[in-house]
C-alpha cells in the first residue's frame, strides 16, 4: 500500500490477490464464500439485489456482478477461487470464465489451450486466438 516499499514489476494480464485486493474485495468474496451453501445460491437466484445488499457489496462490486463482468469483479477485489462459486450458479466453468475475460468465444479460448497442447507457446496461441477479435478492455 501507499507507504510500503515498491512492489515488483507487474505481470501483464495478471492481478495478484494481495492485501490491497483482499481489503477492497472483502464483501464480494464474503458473498461468494456463502455460495458453498446451496440454500444461499438459491437465495441469490431468487433475489439477486436483496442478496447482494445483505453482503454490503460496493457499487462497483454490485455493477460487476449485475454485468456478469469477471474482469470487473476482479478489479473490485474479487478472488477467482471465490468468484468460481458465483460462476457456478450461472453454470459457467473456468473455460467460460476464460472466454469472458479474454473476450473471445469459448471455442476459440479452448482452441488456444489445445494449441498449447500441440506445443505452441502461449504467446503464439494467444496471438492466433485474438486474430480478428476486438481487443478486450
Amino acid at each position: 500500500m501507499s507507504s510500503s516499499p515498491a512492489k515488483p514489476e507487474p505481470i501483464p494480464g495478471t492481478h495478484l490477490f494481495d492485501g490491497d485486493a483482499a481489503a477492497k474485495g472483502f464483501a464480494l468474496n464474503d458473498m461468494c464464500f456463502s455460495f458453498n451453501d446451496a440454500a444461499n445460491r438459491q437465495a441469490f437466484l431468487d433475489d439477486e439485489d436483496g442478496y447482494c445488499a445483505k453482503f454490503n457489496l460496493t457499487p462497483e462490486q454490485r455493477k460487476a456482478v449485475a454485468d456478469r463482468s469477471v474482469l470487473g469483479m476482479i478489479a473490485a477485489g474479487g478472488n477467482i477461487y471465490y468468484l468460481a462459486k458465483l460462476a457456478g450458479i450461472f453454470g459457467l466453468n473456468v473455460q467460460d470464465v476464460g472466454s469472458l475475460q479474454t473476450g473471445v468465444p469459448v471455442d476459440k479460448f479452448k482452441a488456444m489451450l489445445l494449441a498449447q497442447g500441440r506445443g505452441e507457446t502461449y504467446e503464439a496461441a494467444h496471438a492466433e486466438m485474438m486474430k480478428g477479435e476486438m481487443v478486450n478492455g
Partner: protein, 280 residues
C-alpha cells in the same frame, strides 16, 4: 520406525472429478491424462502406504479471508468433503491419524513453524481428486490422512524456500516418530495455469519441464524464484507448485528417484502433470 515409501504428485483440476463421475476416462480429450494413472495405481499397490501426508491448498471451502493461515495442519479424527458451490456429489471422507498429526504439530512448532492447528477441517477437490485417481475402485480410502494446507490464495504467500523447509521439517518429524506406518507423501495442484485476468489460459511448458526435471534431483532449484516470479512463469494458480515443493521436502534432503511421469496439455485450463518419486 515409520517408512516414507515415496511421493506422488498430481494436478487436481475440479473438472477431473466431473470426468470420473461421468466415466470419461477413455474419451479422447481425457484419455492422455487418465493414462498417466495406471503406473501410479500399480506403484501404490506395491508400496502399500497406510498413511498419507498431503500438501494441498484450500479453494475457499475450509478457509475464508477472516482467518487465512499460511500453513495449516489438520488434527481431526475424520475429514469430510462438502459442497464447494457447484452442488457436485461429495467425495469420500478420510480417517485422520490423530497421534501422528499432533506429533508433526509438536515438531513443527518446536522447529519454529508458526502453523495453524485444525481440529476440524473440510477438505476439497484438491485433496480428494488425487485419491480418486490413485484408488479408482476403493470403497474407502486405504490410508489415514494428515492434511497440510498451504496458502496459495491470498498474497503474501510463503516463499518456495520456506515451503521446502516446511516439508523438510515434516520429514524430520517423521524421523522422530516411533510408529511403524508406511507413509506416502502427496503434493497436489499445478502445473502452470491461470484462471483469472486477461492472461487466463496461460501455460508455460518450459517452466513445467524445469520443475519436473528438478523435482527429484534438485528441488532447491525450484526455490530460487520469488513467488512473484513463479506467478510470472507459471500463472496465478501455477503457484500451486508450492504444494509439490512442500511434499518433495517431506521426502528429506537426499536425491530422489523418478519412477513415473506424465504431462498433458490441456485439462481444462491447466497443464496437467503426474509424477511418482521414491527415496533414492
Amino acid at each position: 520406525m515409520a517408512e516414507i515409501v515415496g511421493a506422488y504428485f498430481t494436478s487436481h483440476v475440479p473438472a477431473i472429478g466431473g470426468a470420473i463421475h461421468r466415466g470419461l476416462q477413455q474419451d479422447p480429450y481425457w484419455k492422455p491424462f487418465f493414462d498417466g494413472f495406471p503406473p501410479v495405481q500399480e506403484w501404490l499397490a506395491k508400496v502399500k502406504p497406510d498413511v498419507a501426508i498431503v500438501f494441498y491448498n484450500d479453494h475457499g471451502l475450509n478457509f475464508f479471508l477472516d482467518k487465512m493461515p499460511t500453513f495449516a495442519v489438520g488434527a481431526a479424527a475424520q475429514y469430510d468433503n462438502a459442497d464447494e458451490g457447484w452442488g457436485l456429489p461429495l467425495f469420500k471422507s478420510f480417517e485422520g491419524h490423530l497421534p501422528l498429526s499432533w506429533h508433526i504439530i509438536e515438531s513443527l512448532v518446536e522447529d519454529e513453524f508458526d502453523i495453524t492447528t485444525c481440529q476440524k477441517m473440510l477438505i476439497d477437490h484438491a485433496l480428494s481428486i488425487p485419491f480418486e485417481l490413485a484408488y479408482p475402485n476403493a470403497d474407502k480410502w486405504p490410508t489415514k490422512l494428515v492434511p497440510i494446507a498451504i496458502n496459495t490464495v491470498q498474497h503474501p504467500l510463503p516463499s518456495a524456500k520456506r515451503v521446502l523447509a516446511l516439508g523438510q521439517a515434516v520429514n524430520k518429524a517423521i524421523q522422530s516418530w516411533q510408529g511403524d506406518e508406511r507413509i506416502v507423501v502427496i503434493g497436489t495442484g499445478g502445473l502452470s495455469h491461470q484462471l483469472d485476468g486477461e492472461r487466463a489460459g496461460f501455460i508455460n511448458q518450459d517452466y513445467d519441464k524445469f520443475c519436473m526435471d528438478n523435482l527429484s534431483v534438485d528441488p532447491a532449484a525450484l526455490t530460487k524464484d520469488s513467488v512473484h516470479e513463479i506467478v510470472r512463469l507459471s500463472g496465478t494458480q501455477g503457484v500451486e507448485i508450492l504444494n509439490w515443493i512442500g511434499a518433495r521436502g517431506a521426502m528429506g534432503e537426499g536425491v530422489a528417484a523418478e519412477i513415473h511421469r506424465n504431462y498433458h496439455i490441456p485439462i481444462s485450463n491447466t497443464a496437467a502433470a503426474t509424477m511418482v518419486l521414491e527415496p533414492a
